[in-house]
């Protein structure tokens, strides 16, 4: 098995190996530029009102946790501002939930279409082209022996039991380059190299990607309002004088003052 050596036609090199490599590199370049073109405007879809509501929720949370450090009247004033009859949390929030945004805002859909267009479509087209033109060639040999388990990985498109595993076919080479070129590309393009694996992940799990941007502000408002109403104000300074006297007494005794 290890004795025979395959002699590959030099035409295979000229008409398969080189064109295939070139085609893949060019396609990668194209997707890269398309990606940069489409994603040029940064996602500044956040409205001032939405930021305000987000920050207000944080501030209300702080009021709940740290309210004991301010006097009761001040606390009540703030509580009323947030959770009162006409308070901020009694109004309908401006922030729309992600489902609503999807339904009313066409740009969200368009964005997704664009992502698909730049990501998956060229890849599928390229796969078809490669399948059509370059199928069934043995184009090289890895310089080390491999176990037979690598056969489906390295010899895609050729089903020959007698062929040594270290030979690889054009189709496998294509797949290898498709994912392996990212590292080389990241040397040239500093930022945002199109990452196929990342893109795949996103497509597998669309909810994960939508998580951070979509918040259901209405329920957050309700929660925060209920929480504020549930908490009673306790003034931390109620016994401050006692503690101050204690501290000073102790310091005087210990001759620290």
């Amino acid at each position: 098995m290890s004795v025979h050596q395959l002699v590959l036609d030099s035409a295979v090199r000229d008409w398969v190996f080189i064109p295939l490599t070139l085609a893949i590199v060019l396609m990668k370049l194209l997707t890269q530029y398309m990606h940069q073109l489409f994603s040029a405007p940064p996602p500044s879809n956040k409205e001032l009102k939405e930021v305000r509501e987000m920050q207000a929720v944080t501030r209300a949370g702080r009021l709940r946790a740290m309210g004991r450090f301010i006097p009761e009247t001040s606390y009540k004033m703030r509580k009323d501002y947030f959770a009162g009859e006409k308070g901020l949390f009694s109004q309908k929030p401006m922030t729309r939930s992600p489902q609503e945004a999807m339904a009313t805002d066409p740009t969200v859909m368009v964005d997704m279409m664009k992502k698909n267009l730049t990501g998956m479509v060229p890849q599928l087209a390229m796969g078809m082209v490669v399948n059509f033109f370059f199928q069934g060639f043995v184009i090289g040999k890895v310089p080390f022996p491999l176990s037979p388990r690598f056969k489906p990985m390295l010899q895609r498109g050729i089903d020959l039991a007698s062929l040594d595993v270290s030979y690889f076919t054009s189709l496998s080479y294509y797949i290898l380059l498709l994912f392996g070129l990212r590292g080389a590309f990241s040397l040239v393009f500093r930022e945002d190299v199109v990452d196929e694996t990342e893109m795949m992940k996103r497509q597998m799990n669309p909810m994960g990607a939508a998580g951070p941007m979509g918040v259901d502000m209405e329920s957050m408002f309700k929660q925060e309002k209920a929480a504020l109403n549930a908490v009673d104000h306790e003034w931390e300074m109620e016994s401050a004088e006692e503690r101050a006297v204690d501290v000073m007494r102790r310091a005087i005794k210990a001759k620290k003052l």
């Binding site: 305000r52 006692e242 003052l257």
Partner: protein, 304 residues
């Protein structure tokens, strides 16, 4: 990290001729990380670094350093140098908001407030949630001395970004400038909630309450001064004097009932003791001046 900074500074000062690229880079990096404002030095070393060792910096750090040096140069009013750096940044990142902001800051430093405002408004048209541009607008009014306008701009900013500690602090200062103590107290309350362990906020809040005056406010102020004393282990003289001043104004008698009222009665006495001890130890020559003041304050609080 501070120790490291000192070491690098020593290296830089000891260097003959042009200091080495490494120590310059390290110095600027430390200054960035530690948020230390020593603009003239940063501008000087940054100038050397950018002139002699551009190639020693990676692409990312090169432009971070550019930004840092530009701001330092503006801060130390080295306008021609700042202009060249800002221009370089704008040439490299023509559409960047951060570059535009630097442009605006340059106009501000040059005293061309109208153009600076145009730049910031232009940024806000593109992205109306840009925090820094909103804040620059406040600074713009403040540096022109128009405190009421600055207050309005700050209110607009804080209405959205209500978790910004520095902004609340600045607003409190501005309210104090226009003698609006109630609003200043409101800002201090926000600050108290933002960092309840900072004793200076307690003292300042109590100061404001004391200034507003009135029986309830004196009592509240006394509580906050007491809290500051607790936090500083009696080390804050301002808080100690504050307690005494408040006690002098609180005339209402408390009967010995519980621990709290006992503490309120004992408070002036113990505070006076603490103050006397501190003066005896650290500034004995000032004792003759302090003693009569303390006696006067004590006399006031004992008066029915």
């Amino acid at each position: 990290m501070e120790g490291e900074l000192e070491e690098v500074e020593r290296q830089l000062r000891g260097a003959k001729g042009v200091p080495s690229a490494e120590s310059l880079i390290r110095y600027l990096r430390l200054m960035r990380d530690l948020h230390i404002r020593d603009s003239p030095t940063v501008a000087r070393y940054g100038n050397i670094l950018l002139r002699h060792y551009r190639s020693h910096l990676s692409e990312e750090e090169l432009w971070t350093v550019h930004e840092q040096v530009a701001i330092a140069a503006l801060d130390s009013h080295a306008l021609p140098f700042a202009a060249s750096v800002v221009r370089a940044i704008n040439r490299r990142f023509p559409d960047s908001v951060r570059a535009k902001r630097l442009q605006g800051m340059y106009f501000e430093a040059a005293g061309d407030y109208g153009r600076a405002e145009d730049v910031y408004r232009d940024i806000l048209v593109g992205d109306n949630t840009n925090e820094t541009a909103l804040k620059r607008l406040v600074a713009l009014q403040r540096s022109q001395g128009d405190t009421p306008a600055a207050i309005d701009a700050m209110k607009k900013y804080l209405d959205v970004f209500s978790n910004d500690k520095d902004a609340w602090e600045e607003l409190a200062d501005m309210y104090l400038e226009v003698l609006n103590y109630r609003q200043a107290a409101f800002c201090m309350e926000e600050l108290l909630m933002l960092s309840p362990h900072n004793s200076s906020f307690y003292v300042r809040y109590a100061d404001i309450l004391y200034t507003i005056g009135g029986p309830t406010n004196y009592k509240t102020a006394r509580s906050y001064y007491s809290k500051a004393i607790e936090l500083t282990m009696g080390g804050s003289l301002r808080a100690l004097f504050g307690v005494l001043a408040c006690c002098a104004h609180i005339t209402e008698k408390v009967s010995l009932q519980d621990a709290r009222s006992r503490a309120q009665i004992e408070l002036p006495e113990v505070t006076t003791q603490a103050l006397l001890r501190i003066y005896k130890q650290h500034a004995p020559d000032k004792l003759p001046f302090v003693e009569p003041i303390l006696a006067k304050l004590a006399g006031q609080s004992e008066r029915p």
